[in-house]
């Protein structure tokens, strides 16, 4: 997986972003420590209730639950249609947005489109050194527009845009944007605002929020 991403990065001629999705040799040998043994102090008087009939499950190791990843995202109202690749994080801790401006990166550590809860985050560059990129079309989208997602299993998901926000990167509420619980949302993220030539980055993010649309 890392190799294929790396190959894609090299072909674009844009900076290669190292990715380490697999467990590497750990940095050092961990030191054992003891678990605290229950003290033998006499029982304190306390009247609070303890639950009964608590549920349980088998703790044997099990295979990871299969996730149906997004492969294609469309916003028909503005002619946006991008293929999707799973991405992780860069060495600096930021989301690893695909170098190819023709691709949307889906944050594979978070929920996928169609999940029961949490935010599925997909991001693409708004431009490249050569000019505007396809994702710039999302800037023309409007609240109420449809977002269509096709998954790897061929499931068609439909969302409706409920908010388009421009947020300073310094103020971007990352925990909320990448929420793993709460209402299921689709978040399309790109850049906008003033270009900071020193930082070689835009000052703002555009966040398009969409909710599942039954229709």
């Amino acid at each position: 997986m890392a190799a294929s991403l790396a190959a894609a990065a090299v072909i674009t001629g844009i900076g290669l972003l190292a990715q380490q999705p697999t467990l590497q040799a750990p940095p050092s040998v961990a030191q054992p420590r003891s678990g605290p043994i229950a003290s033998q102090a006499p029982e304190a008087s306390r009247t609070s209730a303890v639950p009964t009939d608590v549920g349980r499950r088998d703790s044997a190791p099990s295979a990871a639950a299969a996730v149906d990843p997004p492969v294609d995202v469309r916003v028909p109202s503005v002619g946006l249609a991008l293929g999707v690749v799973p991405v992780g994080v860069r060495a600096d801790g930021q989301m690893d947005v695909p170098d190819l401006v023709t691709e949307l990166g889906w944050y594979r550590y978070g929920p996928a489109p169609g999940a029961a809860a949490g935010s599925a985050v997909l991001a693409a560059h708004v431009d490249s050194e050569l000019g505007s990129a396809p994702m710039a079309a999302v800037l023309r989208a409007a609240v109420g527009d449809a977002v269509e997602v096709t998954t790897g299993a061929g499931v068609e998901l439909r969302y409706r845009i409920v908010a388009i926000e421009q947020v300073s990167k310094r103020a971007l509420p990352l925990d909320s944007l990448f929420a793993r619980d709460g209402e299921h949302l689709l978040r399309l993220v790109t850049c906008a605002g003033a270009w900071d030539p020193t930082a070689r980055a835009y000052e703002d993010n555009i966040v398009v929020t969409a909710v599942p649309d039954a229709a």
């Binding site: 190799a3 003891s34 303890v50 349980r56 050569l130 109420g144």
Partner: protein, 271 residues
Amino acid sequence: MKGKLAIGAGAALAIVALGGAPATASTQEATVSVLHLIPETTVDAYIDGTEVIGGFEPGELSDPMTLVAGSYDVELYAEGEGPGDAEPVARASGVEVTAGVNLTIAGHLSESGEPTLTAFPIDTDPVPAGQGRLTLRHLAAVPGADIRADGAVIVQGLRNSQEASLVVPAGTVSADLVRADTQGVGVLVPPTDLEVAEGVNTIVTAWGSEDQETLQLAVQVVEAHSAPRGVPSGIGGAATPGALGLLLAIGGAVWLAAIGARATRGAEAHR
């Protein structure tokens, strides 16, 4: 003036969608789970004399319970028995449950094979995005053990009732448990594929008895995630108002996406 990039006509700004942090749980409460790792013994678990889990099978993990902070007596009785008519299989009196802690109380065998109870606070500190915490516990009736991941020793000389943890890139690892100081010859638990999921504490416990040939692994997963630190999604500065306005005028169809041929990608492993 550095102009702001205009959002398309008809777009509404709604700050609410991104705002708001969830309310946190009461600071006087704690989360407690019970893990039953005493082989070949079905038990009823009691806390302060109340049966909380009946017919608790070896290898089972309870759902997390919310308890008010305080001191609790935890007892495991053979199934069908209870306080007043029998001696417990294992007992821990005065287990201190501190407010805000996430505690696992494990019934297990000591190194010599005696049933016992040990409480472990779970490390729920967020790990960096893209990484996972792997906690390794030794609750088996065997002497000191080394734990290996993909053949390399990652924890050395772990003894009964001890644990060790490390933060590693998320992924799958093949782990085994070998008798300490045998250079991997004395395999106790053979290599088992474990998923170290991103943003969680994956707690892997070796339990059982070598004599009974019941050595095995138990897995418990607890949230510890954090978000990426940002979304860097512009490269060139071309999306400044003038340039972008012109491009948008031309129409979204003329994409300069042609930079670089689309690379052929292998199938991405996903989770």
